[in-house]
């Protein structure tokens, strides 16, 4: 970590490091405003900076109208966003975020990502874990870890360019029947809902066989550009089935 062993680095490493653990620990009996002020003091944040940053964070998290509400009376996602706001008050060189957006709604997730990009643009290094593959795709680099082993490491676009499966959207047919038929075909590596239809990844070269199997159901295949979730599903599947 910053050239030092984090276990030995002591205060020098800790000072340049920010952490948001998965199980955030705010003070349940303090209000939104009190929690923010508490963390600002912990980071020795000057008043003007605190004002500027907290206004921005309250805007993004939409917690502004709830300054006086106790943390234990917040909804699940509001609590998570308050924890994130507290962690982001401080601008460390390296920020570690362990699943920061679980339970956060799609609107706030977009705004938080815009802020993360700004922080990175200003020179911060961010390492985050996420179960959302749309977020994985937004990282400069991703590592895919499964059962403790790093299966992939690289730039999302580069990893996708090397992806060996093909991705299709199913057109027509009745979704549940199509889904059932597909689940019996070993060339189909993953099926996901996409709009009202299904999106599937299949072994390269097997689309013809799959399409034939779907013809009696009045469904056909349309090729689409693979995304990171397709890649995840195809890579993690063999181990999951074992």
């Amino acid at each position: 970590m910053l050239g030092r062993d984090p276990a030995q680095g002591g205060p020098a490493v800790r000072e340049s490091l920010g952490l948001m653990p998965q199980q955030a620990s705010l003070y349940p009996d303090l209000s939104v405003a009190e929690n923010l002020r508490f963390f600002a003091r912990l980071y020795c944040l000057p008043r003007a900076l605190f004002r500027e940053r907290s206004l921005r964070l309250l805007d993004i998290t939409r917690l502004g109208p709830f300054l006086d509400r106790r943390a234990d009376a917040l909804s699940g996602g509001m609590y998570k966003k308050l924890a994130l706001a507290c962690a982001l008050l401080h601008r460390p060189e390296v920020l570690l975020l362990d699943e920061p957006t679980n339970g956060v709604d799609p609107v706030s997730r977009r705004e938080l990502w815009a802020l993360l990009y700004e922080l990175v643009h200003d020179g911060m290094t961010v390492l985050l874990s996420t179960p959302y593959m749309d977020e994985a795709e937004r990282c400069h680099r991703v590592g895919l870890i499964h059962h403790g082993r790093l299966l992939l490491d690289g730039e999302p676009r580069a990893l996708l360019a090397k992806f060996e499966d093909e991705t299709y959207e199913v057109e027509g047919g009745e979704r549940d029947r199509v889904d059932e038929r597909l689940s019996s075909l070993s060339d189909v590596h993953a099926a996901s809902p996409a709009g009202s239809t299904l999106r599937i990844t299949v072994a390269r070269g097997s689309a013809g066989t799959v399409a034939t199997a779907l013809t009696p159901l009045h469904a056909s295949l349309r090729p689409v550009v693979p995304n990171f979730e397709d890649l995840f599903l195809a890579r993690v599947r063999p181990e999951a089935a074992a």
Partner: protein, 316 residues
């Protein structure tokens, strides 16, 4: 017509002067998968807690599985399964002991219960984890256990409050396969989620904004109503700034980041794949690929829920 499984009539809940759920009415039929969506703090969990007989409404009424939540909360509780947003399992107990604990809470015991416990372990694919300490299991497996505990007593109605939060894509698919099977067998499912791809499996969806139910319909009808334009999925480099310059052009209805790319919602009369590619390239984007996309529920959510910011902000 049989009685609906869930019926809420002018249901409201106030906390002090704050109205968390504001005059909500809907009904859900037996065997339906009903999705309840909304931004953080919209009032989803509060509604669920009222429907489960855990929190008294401050106004209005609700009947669940034939019982009134105000006058017969105990009957409601024994007819429903509830997976709460907060974790309810005992992490230091083995899987099997958690099952026994929840079975006991529902008053189940004896050989019938032992057989049911085995059946649930098999259904939820937890047989190999029977003796594992719950806290040592990954999130996706714990979530399956929480679901197993909620269905031990074969409830007619199942309330799932963000059952897949933090769960990886593979486990989420397993989970939903199971939920759909339960619904086919007649269990009514009331579910909240912030993963809008899986909400596509709901028969109907209610959308909450600031405590009010602002829309309720099938996914297809919601898309027709709230995503009137054509959706184009765009990938490429330097997209964000190029897309920002498109925002003000006529016929551009919405520009939203989706993963590393964008969804553009455009008026079909003004734009096609080629003209969008051209416009983005002119605005500085590179390696632009545009595909016709189907509108998703996430497009609907952004159209309904994304709202202007609340006026003046005050520093804490």
């Amino acid at each position: 017509m049989s009685e609906p499984s869930i019926e809420a009539v002018h249901l409201s809940r106030r906390f002090g002067s704050f109205l968390a759920v504001d005059d909500v009415s809907f009904s859900v039929a037996r065997g339906e998968i009903f999705g309840y969506l909304g931004a953080n703090g919209a009032g989803k969990s509060t509604t669920i807690r009222m429907l489960c007989g855990l929190l008294a409404p401050t106004a209005g009424e609700a009947r669940v599985a034939g019982f009134d939540v105000k006058s017969a909360p105990e009957s409601v509780k024994s007819s429903i399964g509830y997976m709460s947003q907060k974790f309810s399992l005992y992490l230091d107990l083995p899987v099997r002991d958690n099952i026994d604990f929840f079975g006991g809470a529902y008053g189940l015991s004896g050989p019938d219960f032992a057989a049911r416990a085995d059946e649930v372990l098999r259904l939820c694919d937890l047989e190999a984890e029977r003796y594992a300490t719950t806290g040592s299991l990954p999130g996706g497996i714990r979530q399956r256990l929480a679901l197993g505990c909620a269905i031990l007593h074969r409830p007619a109605v199942l309330f799932l409050d963000e059952p897949t939060a933090g769960v990886d894509p593979v486990s989420r698919r397993h989970f939903w396969r199971f939920i759909r099977a339960l619904a086919r067998e007649g269990t009514t499912i009331f579910v909240t989620t912030h993963y809008l791809d899986e909400a596509e499996y709901c028969g109907r969806i209610g959308l909450m904004v600031d405590g009010r139910l602002v829309a309720l319909d099938t996914p297809a009808a919601l898309k027709r109503r709230y995503v009137p334009g054509r959706v184009l999925a765009v990938r490429g480099r330097n997209l964000a700034s190029a897309a920002a310059s498109l925002r003000s052009r006529s016929g551009i209805i919405a520009v939203e980041p989706f993963g590393a790319g964008l969804h553009l919602q455009v008026a079909a009369a003004d734009w096609d794949l080629a003209s969008i590619t051209h416009a983005l390239t002119n605005a500085g984007a590179q390696a632009v690929e545009v595909e016709a996309g189907e509108p998703t529920l996430e497009d609907v959510f952004l159209a309904v829920v994304a709202r202007p910011r609340d006026g003046e902000a005050h520093a804490p």
